[in-house]
């Protein structure tokens, strides 16, 4: 049955289309019989919505999970992680251990966050505990840094107070829902500049959880020098690292695009801070990604027709602690530099090799276990099936902060990388 894969997309990006064409796939429209649909998040909503009654057949693959927003909407992500932590605590799991200040030892990786207007009063209580802190307001449903602003005074978010006379209709609809998170005002600076990490994570199934980390992530640097001073709060070029915002700053450079590879970061940190703390940092980053996926796995519709490539945004503070800022369901496929184009092209290529094995017409009943050779620049981040095969006692040995054996990122065991030694 050597028919060619029929593809559809509603995202006109060359990195996608070039990859489809190089596989000899055939472009069709969404009304025809298609095998592969790379869709935007709006489209996935309608495909799986109750009204459409769309039924995907076994030879059809799509690039989103139906309810990905459990992970990719800022408020739901936080909600799911909080729920996950409480569940672990109830079970008495050692992962949910807290320190003397009540902070989770292993699961404190999301900055303190509240939903507005729902948690307004809780937020005010927290705000008053440390009145000099800065908070970042983010609209739940937007991306690319749109609508984000920083506050350090309660008056700046009067609008979201439930008692406010001005709020009436506005804040109740989900479209205007915001999350407010404690702003990390001690980010790790390199060359005096703030940056964040963009890592790509491919999930082929949530039950069992199987995810891959793309080795070629990158750091996005702000073009303007970081200063925690309050007068700069309004200068988004200092605080936000989204490329969409930085691109319009005066100093944006089109050769390197203000980006560094993760391997540069690693080289710099190892050279200036030492190997142990650098390895620990990267282990922790892998840990928080896996924990975030485990947190949403129970509520995720792990539809067999779906896979998803997420863009994880992580900030490292000056104590070398990584913080999960958000997860994007549709990481940008626009290329801001030549290097960028190559990276994204390869990303899609490797993703397709895993999601649509051999580039042939898919059969969604397969076990979703690709052979090691097709991973390309991906490496296995966590494979629940493999991990469970090792017995439950591995769980205790594998927490971050304890020695995890050979360094992450250098796989020496055939068939399985060190990233899966803990559950």
């Amino acid at each position: 049955m050597a028919g060619k894969v029929k593809w559809v997309t509603d995202i006109e990006k060359s990195v996608l289309i070039n990859n489809f064409e190089k596989r000899g796939w055939v472009q069709v429209t969404e009304n025809e019989d298609w095998n592969f649909y790379w869709m935007s998040v709006q489209t996935i909503r309608s495909v799986f919505s109750v009204e459409t009654g769309y039924r995907l057949s076994d030879d059809q693959v799509v690039n989103h999970f139906p309810n990905h927003y459990e992970l990719t909407r800022k408020d739901l992500m936080v909600k799911n992680i909080k729920r996950y932590r409480k569940e672990l605590e109830k079970e008495g799991s050692p992962l949910a251990e807290r320190d003397e200040n009540g902070k989770y030892l292993y699961l404190d990786f999301v900055p303190v966050t509240y939903m507005l207007p729902a948690d307004y009063n809780l937020f005010v209580e927290e705000f008053r505990k440390s009145p000099s802190s800065t908070w970042i307001m983010k609209p739940c449903g937007k991306a690319q840094g749109k609508g984000i602003f920083l506050i350090n005074k309660l008056s700046q978010i009067k609008k979201w107070s439930r008692d406010s006379k001005t709020s009436s209709f506005v804040s109740q609809s989900t479209k205007e829902a915001y999350v407010i998170s404690l702003y990390i005002n001690n980010p790790l600076l390199i060359g005096g500049r703030k940056f964040d990490l963009r890592l790509y994570v491919l999930v082929s199934t949530y039950r069992p959880l199987r995810c891959y980390m793309y080795k070629l992530g990158f750091c996005r640097f702000c073009t303007v020098k970081y200063t925690p001073s309050t007068s700069e709060l309004d200068n988004m070029f200092v605080h936000l690292t989204n490329v969409a915002i930085q691109k319009h700053g005066e100093d944006y450079n089109h050769i390197h695009g203000g980006k560094w590879t993760v391997s540069n970061l690693r080289l710099y940190l190892e050279s200036t801070r030492g190997r142990e703390v650098t390895s620990k940092l990267f282990d922790e980053i892998h840990w928080i990604i896996v924990q975030s996926l485990k947190a949403v796995a129970p509520v995720m519709n792990s539809d067999k027709h779906c896979f998803e490539c997420y863009g994880y945004d992580i900030i490292i503070d000056d104590k070398l602690k990584p913080w999960l800022i958000e997860v994007n369901a549709s990481p940008s496929l626009t290329s801001s530099t030549a290097n960028d184009r190559i990276l994204k092209y390869n990303l899609i290529n490797d993703t397709l090799n895993i999601a649509v094995p051999n580039g042939e017409i898919p059969d969604c009943k397969w076990n979703k276990s690709p052979p090691k050779e097709v991973l390309g620049n991906y490496e296995i981040l966590y494979d629940e099936e493999l991990a469970q095969g090792d017995g439950a006692d591995r769980e205790l040995r594998g927490r971050p902060g304890q020695s995890l054996g050979p360094k992450a990122g250098r796989s020496r065991d055939a068939g399985r990388t060190v990233l899966t030694t803990w559950k």
């Binding site: 390199i190 005096g192 100093d251």
Partner: protein, 495 residues
């Protein structure tokens, strides 16, 4: 002091031994050894007692003359830029400007002065033309071509090593010796070499022994130990007086503006700011290079540098020695790409004063040789000749072919060597290369690597038919792994 000599424990008979013992225990013995070792590494071997000081700079007259003319040209170019733009070579900043600069000290990169009228004083290719025209007046090449004729661009008779001599010199790079950059790759179990090598490195650091560190890094330095090892080899220890000295230089920058500052800005903006690896450190580069220009302690290296610091005269006092000043104060005029000497060091040192000290020492030990005309084996002339000779001797077909199509290999590799490959190799590879520069206290490895790169891409190069096409084949070195290239070229090529 007197009082302590009176103490009963001090016995005159054993004073000599006691002092020796004290040195050993307190670590001062090691420090003295390191300091002596450092001096030995930097200064040339003792020469004939009757040799004049110029011979320490450069023994050959024709080389000295050529360097002198080159310097005159550079200075003329600088002075004419100065006159054209009506900008003084130096001026004191008004107080307001001083305050502003102090506030912006950590982010000078955001400053965008109008640099469009400034041009670099010279670029590597200008310097290459000078070297190509170097001739020894006492040497007769003869008009008839023979198999001895050197077909390259450099036409001076300096002695350079051949592969058997290089193999002896770089013995630790041999196939049977473990290397970082080869034996630490992911396929090799760390128990075979890497773990032990790291352990030895930590021991060397604990002992604080410069000579041992230098020997050690010949096999490459582990990433996490490199910053300390290089500091140990260069004998940099960042005492309070060093930090103070750096702060003093910073004050000089704040108070006075130099014309060369604009040249530095321009250079950083043109090179490091556009580099994938180094753009992050743009501000550190200003903080280092502006201070470097004002550091008169750098003048002492001219004792063994064939170059001499340019002299300028206070306005209106031309020719009067009492009014002569060196310009810039450190005597070093930056050229296009100069900032790339500093950039890779930013991956290792994040305190400006430490970064500064390391760079300064690297400059007065190594980098100065890459842009002054001398007969020294690590000087750029020798490196060029070594490169061309290696190619002509061991890859004659390739060399001849490139020459025929008007693509003299040196025209392509010159810029790599002048910059010690900074900005051409991936940073981790560059650092492995510079490990060996420090380890062998020689820059010859740059010429060997350049030849090895040509050898590696020989197949593609044999097919090109123009200089432009040859440049294209060699445009991107960012994926190269330097140690395997060097090892294959030196130890696995049929000689």
């Amino acid at each position: 002091n007197q009082a302590s000599l009176q103490r009963p424990e001090i016995k005159l008979e054993s004073l000599k031994e006691d002092i020796k013992e004290f040195f050993k225990i307190s670590g001062w013995e090691k420090k003295l050894q390191n300091a002596v070792y450092s001096e030995l590494s930097v200064f040339p071997l003792p020469s004939h007692p009757a040799a004049p000081p110029e011979h320490l700079k450069e023994p050959l007259v024709y080389m000295r003359k050529a360097q002198g003319s080159w310097e005159k040209r550079i200075l003329k170019s600088l002075n004419s830029m100065c006159t054209e733009l009506s900008i003084p070579l130096a001026r004191k900043r008004p107080v307001g400007e001083q305050k502003e600069l102090l506030n912006k000290w950590n982010e000078m990169g955001t400053d965008e002065p109008d640099l469009s009228l400034f041009r670099p004083v010279y670029a590597p290719k200008d310097f290459l033309e000078v070297l190509i025209n170097l001739r020894n007046p006492n040497y007769e090449n003869g008009d008839s071509l023979s198999f001895r004729t050197h077909l390259g661009l450099i036409q001076v008779p300096l002695k350079v090593k051949d592969i058997p001599e290089l193999k002896e010199c770089f013995a630790e790079l041999g196939l049977n010796t473990g290397q970082l950059g080869i034996d630490d790759s992911t396929q090799v179990p760390p128990e075979l070499f890497e773990n032990e090598h790291v352990r030895i490195g930590q021991k060397v650091l604990a002992e604080q022994d410069s000579a041992a560190a230098q020997q050690y890094v010949r096999q490459g330095s582990p990433t996490a130990l490199r910053a300390e090892l290089w500091a140990l080899i260069l004998n940099i220890s960042s005492q309070p007086e060093d930090i103070l000295y750096y702060e003093q230089l910073k004050t000089n920058v704040i108070q006075h503006d130099l014309l060369v500052d604009s040249l530095i800005y321009k250079d950083v903006k043109l090179t490091a700011s556009n580099d994938d690896y180094y753009f992050v450190f743009e501000d550190y580069l200003y903080q280092v290079l502006l201070c470097f220009s004002r550091d008169t302690s750098v003048l002492s290296h001219f004792a063994y540098n064939s170059a001499s610091p340019p002299k300028s005269y206070i306005r209106g006092k031309l020719g009067l020695e009492e009014y002569a000043v060196f310009y810039p104060p450190n005597g070093v005029i930056p050229f296009h790409g100069f900032s790339m000497y500093v950039a890779p060091l930013c991956f290792l040192y994040h305190e400006p004063y430490k970064l500064y000290q390391i760079f300064r020492e690297m400059y007065v030990r190594f980098f100065f040789r890459l842009h002054s005309i001398s007969s020294h084996p690590s000087g750029i002339v020798s490196l060029c000749l070594l490169f061309e000779t290696l190619l002509q001797t061991y890859l004659p077909q390739l060399f001849y072919h490139l020459r025929e199509i008007g693509a003299q290999p040196l025209r392509i590799s010159f810029k790599w060597m002048v910059r010690a490959f900074s900005g051409y190799l991936a940073t981790d590879q560059l650092l492995l290369l510079w490990d060996r520069i420090l380890g062998y206290n020689s820059l010859e490895i740059l010429a060997v690597l350049a030849a090895a790169v040509f050898a590696f891409r020989a197949v593609n190069l044999m097919e090109v038919t123009s200089l432009a096409a040859a440049e294209a084949v060699l445009a991107d070195l960012s994926t190269l792994k330097v140690m395997p290239l060097l090892q294959i070229f030196l130890f696995a090529t049929v000689t």
